[in-house]
Symmetry: C2
Amino acid sequence: MGLVADRSFGSISLREVARGAGIVPTAFYRHFASMEDLGVTLVEDSMRVLRRTLREGRRDLAARQALPTAQNSLDILLRHVRDNEAQFRFLVREQHGGIAEIRRAIDTELRLFSKELAIDLSRLPDLVQWSPEDLEIAAELIVTIMLTAVADLLDGEYRGSGVEREIVERTEKQLVMVFLGMGRWSPPER
Amino acid sequence: MGLVADRSFGSISLREVARGAGIVPTAFYRHFASMEDLGVTLVEDSMRVLRRTLREGRRDLAARQALPTAQNSLDILLRHVRDNEAQFRFLVREQHGGIAEIRRAIDTELRLFSKELAIDLSRLPDLVQWSPEDLEIAAELIVTIMLTAVADLLDGEYRGSGVEREIVERTEKQLVMVFLGMGRWSPPER
DNA sequence: ACATTGAGTGAACATCTGTACACAAATCAG
DNA sequence: CTGATTTGTGTACAGATGTTCACTCAATGT
């Protein structure tokens, strides 16, 4: 996992992975059919863990009678990112990276997130009469904003300076702008 | 340029580039000090052309007395993307790609775009009293949305199916949501 | 207790890689 | 035309790479 942190997955050799795992090259094939296979597995594992974390986060919020606001969700996400930096570097890097199969895997998972978020949104009083399509469009926008925040956070290696807070505040403002827009979107439609 | 279309830049060898250019490997060094150097040059060239196209687009709009609306700008951008597909595949791929120097170059150029857009926004009647910081935050959000549209357009190889229109419509809706939000943002601040 | 299986080994291969070096051709300035 | 500078060539080398094959070894279930 450390390997995949700062170089593109496509530029990593099977032998490097084997070396990193303390294993002879040929033994690699006992676990994965190819590098592509490894990549897809990595995506699925990372995403599974992330999904679990977010679900737990939402549960905790509910337990404290707190609403799952955008700020709260962003906070949970970013904490998870900090705890699993290498994985997210990998995900952000390979989302549009060089291997089609991996791109597809990430895209599928992100689409799932959007759908989930769209369902959450549909329960908000202000949005009850939105069409499913518009809900998903809004959800995708929110996911995009959050993903951009993650990418910015990881790309700046400033690690601990004020840049981190800056990114969080910017992202929160952007989310508010979108929510305000969503509040205005509905009326002109009906 | 065709080389860099679907594989990550970091996984491309100097020799492949030389081969693609019809040149012996050693001659590569007559033009670039390293692969990294090539990458940065590629970024700068692509961005220079894009900047020129957008400026001309805005000039044309002005000549036709049309406002540079978000829809118009998106249209110009996407047409340019279609005409220079390989370059944009490269840019989207390497924005968070494996080579730090290239990431930095792209990031710098994007930041420039945001600043330019922020200036344009500052001239809109509804936003005249926004703080420069908030203007830039909004501008970055718009750039993010447009960039996401570009990435989605290039990732789907559907090429000509309805997916293209779908992406454009989604993006337009997202932009409208943001603009609506921006219209509501200002009041609570003063 | 023993055969079956999953995981790791080691040698070998043909191929590709970056870069060094001395040399040739082409372009250009005066 | 001539001399200089830029661009390209050919050869060479040490090292890395993916994949094959036949093998050992330890764990497992019955």
